[in-house]
Symmetry: C2
């Protein structure tokens, strides 16, 4: 069995390009005892993967140059020597970017096929949805009537954060980077949505959208939007620090106004987190998100690119803001 | 009865000077029913008071130009028309900078005179001690063997933070601004003390002092020391953001490396706070601090200036780092 695989060709300096990705054809042996052969159906491309392309210590090990890039994927078992994973099982897990993968099944989770489209287990009901769930409900803890700001609101995480905040009875303001995304956020029920690319003064726009100040901030972006939100914090504000896509491609440490005095004056709490911090509570999160989805309280948007060879382009598109909702590649 | 009082003459731009303070003699009437006449014994000068000299929203109302400056003080009741506060009672409270004060007793707390020097109720057993107590024990929650960094460690709050961290079994690193202060911290039991004024590379010195990384950071200072600590945070580090004396006299918003990516990678929690956030738990704090003091587990240092007319100089001295431990003025 032959499979295409995508290797990290070199580490990017700043914004990655197509030159970082190398396609190669590899031969896979037949599954040995305990192994399964998987056919990849959907590959997830996520902003956090940019960090893994760098060398150096972070919360997750770096990709190695010359080795396959790996990330979230949904795959189907097409050959099995593992009783726990019969042929036809659909699984989600961290898999190399390959059309076919040989696996011993460790770290794979079987997903139901009757609850939601299987691709949702990479978005609304997967890592991004859980990131939103724990970051908002555990860290921000919005109360009815409070004001929640979400940056990167039309992304895979942000779209869920805003909907969860509405379920909690909060007033929700989202920032996003196109008129289409702003329209999508309004359709999702966001009270205010601001296009940061066309708004000349974000500080003024956010202040106008949050006349009573900001109680919770879910930050996917960082940079100037975050600076502006810090000026609006109410006493005892809670900030979930989830992502900093505005600076992932910076080659120097970004510089900005020091936030400490603002956080001090408002007795604000800022918590950096990754969804892995909540690993033991994932089943609870998936169950609650699935229930809300099936009750019609949550909806999901996906930007699906077709074709294994389009994975690098879909990944690079994240940094141009090309996706609304979850960015996926349909492989088969 | 005549009393001297010190008014805010004008709002400072940047570092305050003697020109901000105006001495005036005022006439006080005899106490009416319910009132007491207080003779001020000790006046506390504290860095947070710099913020009250500015206009604009903060966690505490600004001083008004032409009105007395007020802050923590210990005073004795010398005339009383209030049964709850007989002559000879010693009280602590927020009082105007005056030799004598007429009060209805609201907001005053009687303090015992047999537990500790009464001045300690402005330091170790008062607002700074409670700030250390709640900031370290409630926010940082150091565990035995963890590494705690305290900036401004030889100040009124920092000296208590370090001793409390030792009581908790942590390894403690303090930063301070003179060889005398460093020697004092060593004598207090700090494991490492670093003179930031003579150390050419604070990032390197902190990294050498904390080879296992930093679990807790109690920040009184901000600026470059804080930047260096952020680079050393261990997973799930806790930061109590208490003061930013490095920037209190800045006329522009200070700029520095953005901390968010560092906080995100370490899943760190940063909590801004003021001791007023813990008002309901003050009695618990005073009781515990008093017990540890009387058991010999806590000691206090005071820098006492003598004379009512020296209050402005003692206050201005805070920003030159003149005090070791609590800065006080003995008025009578």
């Amino acid at each position: 069995m032959k499979t295409q695989t995508i290797l990290l060709a070199s580490r990017p300096q700043g914004l990655p390009t197509a030159a970082q990705f190398q396609f190669e054809t590899r031969e896979l042996p037949a599954p040995a005892a305990g192994q399964v052969l998987l056919q990849t159906r959907y590959v997830s491309v996520d902003p956090y993967m940019r960090g893994r392309m760098n060398e150096g210590k972070s919360y997750i090990a770096p990709f190695q140059v010359g080795e396959p890039i790996a990330g979230g994927a949904v795959a189907e078992v097409i050959e099995s020597q593992n009783e726990a994973l019969p042929v036809g099982s659909v699984v989600v897990g961290n898999l190399p970017w390959q059309e076919f993968v040989l696996s011993d099944g460790k770290g794979l989770n079987r997903i139901p096929t009757d609850q939601a489209p299987v691709s949702y287990f990479l978005g609304l009901l997967g890592m991004p949805g859980l990131t939103a769930y724990f970051g908002l409900l555990d860290i921000c803890q919005p109360k009815p009537g409070e004001t929640v700001v979400v940056s990167g609101a039309a992304g895979a995480v942000g779209m869920v954060v805003g909907q969860l905040a509405k379920i909690q009875g909060a007033r929700v303001i989202g920032t996003a980077g196109s008129a289409e995304k702003v329209a999508y956020l309004k359709q999702l029920g966001f009270d205010e949505a601001i296009n940061y690319k066309t708004t000349p003064d974000m500080a003024q726009a956010l202040a106008a959208a949050a006349p009573g100040g900001v109680d919770c901030y879910f930050d996917n972006v960082g940079g100037a939007i975050t600076d502006a939100v810090y000026d609006l914090l109410n006493k005892h504000a809670r900030i979930a620090l989830c992502g900093q896509i505005a600076s992932y491609n910076d080659t120097e440490t970004p510089v900005g106004p020091r936030p400490e005095t603002k956080l001090l004056k408002s007795s604000a709490r800022l918590q950096g987190f990754i969804v892995g911090d909540y690993y033991s509570r994932w089943p609870e999160g998936v169950q609650q998100l699935t229930q809300w989805y099936r009750q019609g309280k949550l909806q999901a948007e996906e930007t699906i690119t077709e074709g294994f060879d389009q994975i690098p382009a879909a990944f690079l598109g994240l940094f141009k803001g090309e996706n609304t909702g979850k960015a996926l590649v349909k492989v088969s």
